[in-house]
């Protein structure tokens, strides 16, 4: 949509972009801290105990205390670790999150009935771009695990690869089937095209396969073999101390937050609100974004709750699940989506 | 099987190896066994008298009589009799044949008896210290004339 930029602002645009970038980084860190707090409180509820309850009201400042602790710890490196891999792995982990953040819309505002999505950039191929960039984190995890000079981390690295290779394929196929039915690869278009008919009703199998593959992609239980505490101590991140560990830990939770946004946008109707709300001047500003946030938080709570409700798979069962069960289901869903798209289009 | 039948069969088959066989109660029996024949007696117990559960093997140091005793407790999964076999060994050079080929789980019991008393079990596949550190091999802590580690003794507190 064309916005008239006055001549005065053009030299200031790089600064404005810098400020927006810093605000986004701060926002995503805050969102990750919120996700960690939510996980700790929700898991405590499931296990009939209290979660963090002393630092701040309802333990909300617990993450601030944890961040201070992580910043002030000593940064150790194992004796024979590979410096290049060990020191730079965090760049890939956090970098993939920031790159994903660039194209993901976090809401929309309606001014005079015209919709302005809140995204940093709007690409034509944004869904494909998000998909590709979220796979960059594999490099980060493998660099840590391989460069730590530790056999437990190495076992974690092998399991990680086996898992990621298997689950990227059904993930990509379900995303493509959504795009095929909508007719566009841009996430803004996909979200806009779901009016009352959310994609979860049109492609229930696709939503299920996408959700399971996303959980495996993020490395959440029941798929967290690479960091399973009981067998290989902390798996891939055993040798990281202090804020290096903190960045890896937060990267996982940021990935979780962005993943739940992705589910909400692709399958749960995005930010679509009924017409009368959109035309209302006040509600049009906050309702679509708020609605999207509510859906994302709901998906986040389901992901968190699932972690504490089931045991963990063995790695060969994980690989078995992805290639023998999810891959054929994803292909079936693609055929269904193509057929449905042609029927609805005609 | 009755405890008296068991003792009768045992003394009947090994008249010179078993001595002082008594039945202490319905479910406990004891006998002294010659140390050369311990393995054969155990094999006979396992094959014919259904004694297939080895409870424990331990050593006792009788310093006043100047000998060791290796005590085998053998029980059964089918009948409730527990047989206690004792073999006397001289204190200078205690050696006895290992019964690992008869009962698989006696492996660790014999290792432990070796490192605590110094009783050598011949033909044992892996006679290394089990629960003591490697550098304590040779000190035989559970003997009655053990001096203490390292220069401390256990006081008698009454």
């Amino acid at each position: 949509m064309p916005i008239n930029i006055p001549e005065l602002i053009i030299p200031l645009l790089p600064w404005i972009r810098g400020v927006v970038g810093l605000v986004l980084i701060g926002a995503i860190f805050l969102a990750a801290m919120g996700a960690v707090w939510l996980e700790r409180k929700l898991s405590a509820d499931i296990q009939s105990r209290m979660g963090p309850c002393r630092v701040g009201k309802y333990g909300l400042l617990q993450l601030v205390a944890d961040a201070i602790k992580l910043f002030t710890k000593e940064d150790l490196k194992p004796w024979n670790a590979d410096s290049l891999l060990f020191n730079n792995a965090n760049i890939f982990m956090i970098g993939s999150i920031f790159l994903m953040l660039v194209a993901l819309p976090v809401g929309a505002i309606f001014i005079n009935g015209v919709e302005y999505p809140l995204a940093v950039t709007q690409m034509d191929i944004s869904v494909l771009y998000i998909e590709a960039v979220s796979a960059l984190s594999i490099f980060g995890i493998f660099m840590v695990a391989y460069g730590s000079n530790n056999k437990y981390s190495l076992l974690g690295a092998f399991r990680n690869f086996a898992r990621m290779v298997g689950y990227e394929v059904p993930l990509g196929i379900t995303v493509i089937s959504v795009a095929v039915m909508t007719g566009s690869l841009s996430i803004v278009d996909i979200s806009r095209s779901q009016g009352l008919h959310w994609n979860i009703f049109l492609q229930p199998l696709g939503c299920f396969v996408f959700f399971v593959s996303l959980m495996a992609d993020m490395g959440r239980l029941p798929f967290d073999q690479n960091e399973s505490e009981e067998e290989i101590i902390a798996g891939w991140i055993t040798e990281y101390c202090g804020m290096r560990f903190g960045l890896g830990f937060f990267a996982e939770y940021m990935h979780m937050v962005l993943g739940s946004f992705l589910v909400a946008l692709l399958f749960l109707g995005g930010w679509n609100v009924p017409g009368f709300v959109a035309n209302n001047p006040v509600l049009g500003l906050i309702a679509p974004t708020g609605f999207l946030l509510v859906k994302a938080v709901f998906v986040l709570m389901v992901i968190i709750g699932l972690r504490w409700a089931v045991p963990r798979f063995r790695i060969d069962q994980v690989v078995d699940l992805s290639w023998k069960k999810l891959f054929p289901l994803a292909l079936l869903n693609l055929v269904w989506a193509v057929g449905l798209g042609l029927y609805l289009g005609a | 099987m009755d405890v008296t039948e068991i003792l009768k069969s045992l003394t009947g088959t090994f008249p010179e190896a078993i001595s002082e066989a008594t039945a202490e109660s319905e479910i406990r029996a004891r006998a002294y066994v010659d140390k050369e024949k311990a393995k054969e007696v155990c094999q006979y117990l396992k094959d014919s008298l259904q004694f297939d559960h080895l409870c424990s093997v331990c050593g006792v140091d009788y310093i006043k009589r100047n000998e060791f005793e290796v005590v085998y407790h053998i029980a059964s999964y089918d009948h409730p009799v527990v047989l206690m076999l004792k073999a006397k060994l001289p204190r200078e050079n205690p050696e006895i044949e290992s019964i690992v080929s008869v009962y698989w789980n006696v492996n660790w019991y014999e290792r432990e008896t070796y490192e605590l008393f110094g009783i050598v079990f011949k033909n044992h596949p892996n006679l290394k210290p089990l629960i003591l550190p490697e550098d304590m091999l040779g000190e035989w802590p559970l003997r009655k004339d053990y001096e203490g580690f390292p220069n401390k003794t256990a006081r008698n507190l009454v």
């Binding site: 009939s48 239980l221 009981e230 067998e231 089931v310 963990r312 790695i315 060969d316 | 009454v158």
Partner: protein
Amino acid sequence: MEEQLEPNEMIVHLGPQHPMQPGPFRLNLRLKGETVVDADIELGFIHKGIEKILENKTYLQGITIVDRICYLVALVNEECFVGCTEKLLGIEPPERSKYIRVILDELTRIQSHLLGIGEFAEFIGFVSMFMYAVREREEVLSLIDMVTGARVTHSYLKFGGVRDDLPDGFKEKTTPVLNDLKKEVDNFEQMFHTDRIYRERTVGVGVLTADVAKSLGVSGPALRATGVPFDIRKNEPYLVYKDLDFKVCTETAGDCFARVQVRLNEIRESIYILEQCLDQIPNGPLFPENTLYGRRTPVMRVPAGEVFHRVEDPRGEMGMYMVSDGSDKPYRVKVRGPYYPTLQALPPLIIGTTVADVAAISGSMDGCTSEADR
């Protein structure tokens, strides 16, 4: 095991400190990828020298030390030691003391099995199950605390009886706890049976057949899960077990699932035994009549002799061989713990499985390294 390693083999030490162990021991694994090719166990990290200590302490002091063989099931260890000494002394405790001892033994069995089930669930990633099991265990521990005054290492038994009588209102406080426990055990069983991932991790994993189990020397729930009905409480009944009605729980599959199922059933049987005991317990003295055992006599000479006494520990068969030479200290005490042969049988069981299964198998054996090392 340290011989020439092939290109894709490596040796991993599941060393003395590891989140998944029931105590410190070192498990050396030789892995090819994720499959275990060879395994070896080293013990001795928690060796306290209990057998040597017991030779230098009197019998009464020995009760406190025997507690520490396995701190989780301290009352059963005391039962074994006190039973041995009573056989040497030739006395028998009166009926009320016997019933109190059975009540405490069964409560100990319940809390040990709850912890075993919870720890096994934690080792395969089912952390919430551990929290639920431990929550139930708190109730049982507070019952034991009410009677003995401590949650672990109680020092409650005495020769010829028990230290103190049951408190007033014990039966009224126990009955609601047992009823709640029955419902919770049903809940646990349903959770285990209907969870698909749990079944995939446990059914067919670590299978023991009856012959292999007998030759390896395991006892306890691991043996009863293969179909052999071997329970010391039925084979040679001690205390009042011959007057009580209970059955020996067995399963036939012999895998991890069956072992956990046997423990769940044993909790139910223990609850049934407790209800019978609370109904049948007679009033009477705590120590034998016309003897000095009720008084605090620190010096007590035991007649010379030898005895071997076995009890049914929650983990298997526990035995003690005691030699006395007529003085006030034992001459030799040999403690036969139930987890010792099970730990010895672990390397042959895990060869050929993956690292994840090592956690499941060693967790389902539910051990306490402290009693293997003594």
